[in-house]
């Protein structure tokens, strides 16, 4: 997609294709089976019967980074793990999204002061789309994060050149989420 990304003029036809592709992307966000710590259990709860993330089409956890669209980083990333998280992110195919789940991943959490080897937020390592705070976040919070991500994906321009307003809106949205 690299060549076409944001190169075409912003007209009705390109807009329609953008909408369709955006719909496809946002309706099938396959997360990666990737658990680090406590938050992974709540992430599993989101996939399980009570919360059932599959309702939004995001319920096929893929074990390999190549086939997944979303990496939920659930749990403290330390120095030893950060290298691996980075590599996993690099192995994912575009478009790829990152949800930082939990206080540790958002900014160090309880380990921010005395943690000599914890990374104070996974956004130091890989770019993050959505931050879901909490220790651990309730499953509802993670679901909300994924719904927010769906909104964000749906608004992405795949082919059309982003005009000024679009860029600003996205920037604003990024700042909020």
């Amino acid at each position: 997609m690299g060549l076409l990304n944001n190169t075409l003029p912003d007209n009705k036809l390109v807009g329609a294709v953008d909408t369709a592709v955006g719909w496809g992307r946002k309706s099938s966000v396959w997360p990666m089976t990737f658990g680090i710590a406590c938050c992974a259990i709540e992430m599993m709860a989101v996939f399980a019967a009570t919360f059932d993330l599959d309702r939004f089409g995001a319920g096929i956890p893929r074990a390999t980074p190549r086939q997944s669209d979303l990496i939920i980083v659930p749990g403290t990333v330390n120095a030893k793990m950060a290298v691996r998280v980075r590599r996993l992110y690099d192995q994912m195919a575009e478009p790829r999204y990152v949800i930082a789940m939990g206080a540790c991943v958002c900014g160090g959490g309880p380990y921010v002061k005395w943690g000599y080897n914890t990374v104070k937020g996974v956004h130091k390592i890989i770019p993050v789309d959505i931050f879901v705070p909490g220790c651990p976040p309730r499953p509802e919070a993670l679901m909300d994060g994924i719904l927010k991500l769906r909104e964000k994906i749906g608004r992405e321009a795949v082919f059309a050149r982003r005009n000024e307003a679009n860029t600003q809106m996205n920037a604003k949205y990024d700042a909020v989420s």
Binding site: V21, G24, T33, D52, G57, T64, R66, P95
Partner: protein, 353 residues
């Protein structure tokens, strides 16, 4: 097929060669269309069946009613996803493997009779043609696994090779039982036989063994649980397609469902009466011209019943280990298949002779 050719030569007045090519193109085009629609539906169905077995709902939001648009959305996304070829991979093989896998399975469908006259070619050795052509898939899987330059992929490919080649034996042997009854390899003959004499499964008690053996062996052939060793998610990450992404990966996904369709179609045609109704209370094959297409619907309902059982098993049973799979194939299924064939032969000689 003949109807189509007649239509092109007679009604449109085209030359025979052109008519033949056009007829095949139309037939294969509609087959492809059918398979695409089927695969979309089957993937959605798999997710729904899995979800309901697991006390969930499965896809609910995408497209409105019970997430019916889930599979098109997945397809759209995969189409526009980046296609990664790992740097250490053998590019040609990596590129061609999904196509071979898919084509091998697809080619099997040209011999399947969907209804009276709805069959692309009624090959003389139809049953063995399907078994043979579907095995091409193994080559594709091995290519995929080897060319990915990943150890997990290699494990998956080797497992696939061992497993599928081993399970060809019991499945082909089990199919000999209905062939003995009908006395023909032509798939069309099975339907005419069953329309006259009732379903083959009821023809003798040994046929149940043959059906069971073939069903289990066909599960292994489609890499369905409990025989999903080549992709064993908890052991080999994703097995032979670990390194595939985007559209190429979706071919492997489709292939699994299409081969499910193929083996279910064989099961239905050879054991469960093909497109005929139980006890033949409505002779579907000999209805007036457009209504004989009802047979397609009958067959599809049967196929989905078999596919549902496959899904049911997948979401209930644990996975077997590789040596257990081999043991099962050679030590249990093959002798039982031979027993079923011998039993059928003896039964029919005794009953009829």
């Amino acid at each position: 097929m003949e109807t189509l050719i007649d239509f092109f030569t007679g009604t449109l007045g085209l030359g025979p060669t052109l008519a033949l090519s056009l007829a095949y193109a139309t037939a294969i085009g509609s087959l492809l269309g059918f398979i695409t629609v089927y695969a979309m539906f089957a993937i959605w169905m798999e997710r729904k069946v899995a979800a309901h077995i697991q006390q969930r709902f499965g896809p609910m939001e995408v497209g409105g009613w019970h997430g019916w648009a889930q599979s098109p959305a997945d397809a759209l996304k995969l189409m526009f996803k980046e296609d990664i070829i790992p740097s250490g991979a053998n590019k040609v093989l990596f590129w061609i493997a999904p196509a071979i896998v898919f084509c091998g399975v697809l080619a099997g469908f040209i011999a399947i009779p969907f209804a009276a006259g709805v069959q692309i070619v009624d090959i003389d050795l139809g049953v063995f043609f399907i078994i043979a052509i579907a095995s091409i898939e193994v080559i594709g899987v091995i290519m995929a696994g080897w060319s990915s330059n990943s150890k997990y992929s290699l494990f998956g490919a080797v497992r696939e090779a061992a497993q599928v080649v081993s399970y060809e034996l019991p499945s082909a042997t089990a199919l000999l039982a209905p062939i003995l009854v009908v006395g023909s390899f032509k798939l069309g003959d099975f339907n005419t036989y069953q329309a006259e004499h009732g379903w083959i499964i009821f023809s003798n008690p040994f046929m149940w063994i043959a059906l069971l053996v073939y069903f289990i062996a066909s599960l292994a052939g489609c890499k369905r649980a409990p025989f999903d060793l080549p992709e064993a998610e908890s052991e080999l990450v994703s097995g032979f397609h670990t390194e595939y992404s985007g559209m190429r990966f979706s071919f492997f996904g489709l292939e699994e469902f299409v081969s499910m369709l193929l083996v279910s179609a064989i099961t239905c045609t050879l054991f469960l009466g093909g497109y005929t109704l139980p006890f033949n209370f409505l002779d579907v094959a000999n209805l007036a011209a457009p209504f004989h297409l009802l047979g397609v619907a009958v067959l599809i309902v049967k196929i989905f019943a078999v596919i549902f059982v496959q899904m049911w098993l997948r979401w209930t049973l644990p996975r077997m280990r590789v040596d257990q799979v081999m043991t099962m194939g050679y030590k249990y299924l093959l002798p039982w298949a031979l027993f079923a064939v011998a039993g059928t032969a003896v039964w029919h000689v005794w009953m009829e002779g």
